[in-house]
């Protein structure tokens, strides 16, 4: 592996000072399941690697009394789904965190890292968007917040500016009678990269969908929030097949996929509609529990 200096900042101020001073030569390390591979294979370079796991704000995991959730950017997947109260409150997020890599990857890989890696197929990202997650970012000039749907800017690129560090993800409380779900299509049962994916949340009043968020992954340069797909559901019945079809068609219309080794444009457009419908059915079923 290329040589670098290993730093272990214990405060946000220390970390952002180095990130500002060194710019692209400094990289934040949490789980390392992407960064260490990229450094080893020469796909990224770094003079400084900042292990951010000793910074308290990045290692917090808090389910607040009002039902909102704060996930520190360095918290590994297993710690989130291993928390029974959090897992019960956000089953749609757990769909994502339990299928990123295998058991050993989930022991290290952080949600913040999955987001910063900004893969079009990142499994946590459509779920976070559907759950209205917000990125809490520290920089030398202060703090700012960015909704997750605006964080990824291109494959492998995110909106962090020089000297900025993703500190945590803030997820609002889910209203009563809400449910969420994430589904991806892969050609095997486990350990693969999404060909197309969908994250959905709904809020119900009886059988009426009063609110919905539909996000899709692996079908565009970044995961997308599809406002039109969400709008097609709101105000309609959970059994209104024409509304559900309109939602899926809107998601398909928003998809701008590429053909690659995992799938063709046509297959991905088809699949994303299927994933949206199936995730929606699970989200509705969970909202009714």
């Amino acid at each position: 592996m290329q040589n670098f200096e290993y730093l272990k900042p214990t405060t946000i101020e220390q970390a952002v000072a180095v990130l500002y001073r060194e710019g692209e030569h400094a990289k934040a390390l949490s789980g390392g399941t992407d960064l260490i591979v990229q450094l080893r294979e020469g796909r990224r370079s770094a003079k400084y690697v900042l292990d951010v796991k000793k910074i308290p704000d990045l290692s917090q995991l808090t389910l607040n009394n009002d039902g909102s959730l704060i996930i520190g950017a360095a918290i590994p997947c297993h710690q989130i789904y291993g928390n029974a109260a959090i897992a019960a409150s956000f089953p749609g997020l757990m769909d994502s965190f339990t299928l990123i890599g295998g058991t050993a990857i989930q022991g290290r890989a952080s949600v913040g890292g999955n987001l910063c890696t900004a893969s079009p197929a990142g499994d946590s990202i459509p779920s976070l968007i559907a759950h209205r997650a917000v990125c809490v970012i520290a920089g030398t000039g202060g703090w700012r917040e960015v909704p997750v749907e605006a964080f990824c800017t291109a494959p492998g690129r995110n909106g962090l500016q020089r000297g900025e560090l993703l500190v945590s993800l803030r997820i609002p409380a889910q209203p009563a009678h809400s449910g969420g779900a994430y589904l991806r299509f892969i050609p095997r049962n486990e350990m693969d990269i999404a060909v197309a994916s969908a994250g959905v949340t709904v809020t119900l009043d009886g059988n009426t969908i009063t609110n919905a968020r539909v996000a899709i992954g692996a079908v565009a340069p970044t995961p997308l929030l599809v406002i039109e797909a969400s709008a097609a559901l709101i105000g309609n019945s959970t059994s209104d097949t024409s509304a559900i079809n309109a939602c899926a068609v809107a998601a398909q219309a928003a998809a701008k996929p590429i053909t690659d080794m995992r799938g063709t444009v046509e297959q991905r457009v088809h699949l994303v509609g299927v994933m949206v419908k199936r995730a929606l059915a699970i989200a509705i079923e969970r909202a009714n529990r």
């Binding site: 040589n3 290993y6 690697v49």
Partner: protein, 157 residues
């Protein structure tokens, strides 16, 4: 060259101090620095699980952990699985079920399976298969490995 980093850790119950380069993985430290060659290097990118170890009781790929990250952690490797005399039950069942051929993946499977049984002593076949999905074996076709783990847990398959 950057200066070497001194790391204090516990490996298989024994306090261990080692010096490592900032860019050395835990796997490299174990194999090249501490002469503990039971953990294997397969893919070196987190896909194959041959380098599986426990870090503070949690299953991780040691190729994706820097040696420097191990300060104040407890590491368990394949060398720490068996009792002083004899074999760990998982090792015995792997033998009985012929759950290995070339053997390169076996230390990783044993460590990963131990991590599973430590947290879930009576897993279903489905749970075993998903838990071990990050460990690759190109010889056995997996069935014998799954049977060995289930037999160790006292679960019939």
């Amino acid at each position: 060259m950057s200066k070497k980093i001194q790391v204090s850790t516990t490996i298989n119950g024994e306090p261990v101090e080692f010096l490592c380069e900032s860019n050395q993985s835990l796997l490299e430290v174990l194999r090249d620095g501490l002469n503990m060659t039971g953990s294997k290097e397969g893919c070196n990118n987190g896909n194959c699980g041959a380098c599986s170890v426990l870090m503070d009781g949690r299953l991780v790929n040691s190729c994706l952990v820097l040696g420097a990250e191990c300060e104040d952690t407890k590491i368990t490797t394949i060398e720490g699985i068996a009792p002083k005399e004899g074999l760990h039950p998982l090792q015995q069942k792997f033998l009985e079920h012929a759950a290995l051929q070339c053997g390169i993946c076996t230390p990783g499977f044993i460590v990963a399976a131990k991590a599973l049984l430590d947290t879930n002593p009576h897993p279903t076949e489905h749970e075993v298969r998903y838990w071990l999905a990050g460990n690759l074996c190109r010889c056995t076709g997996y069935d014998k490995i799954i049977r060995a783990v289930l037999d160790t847990a006292g679960v019939s398959s």
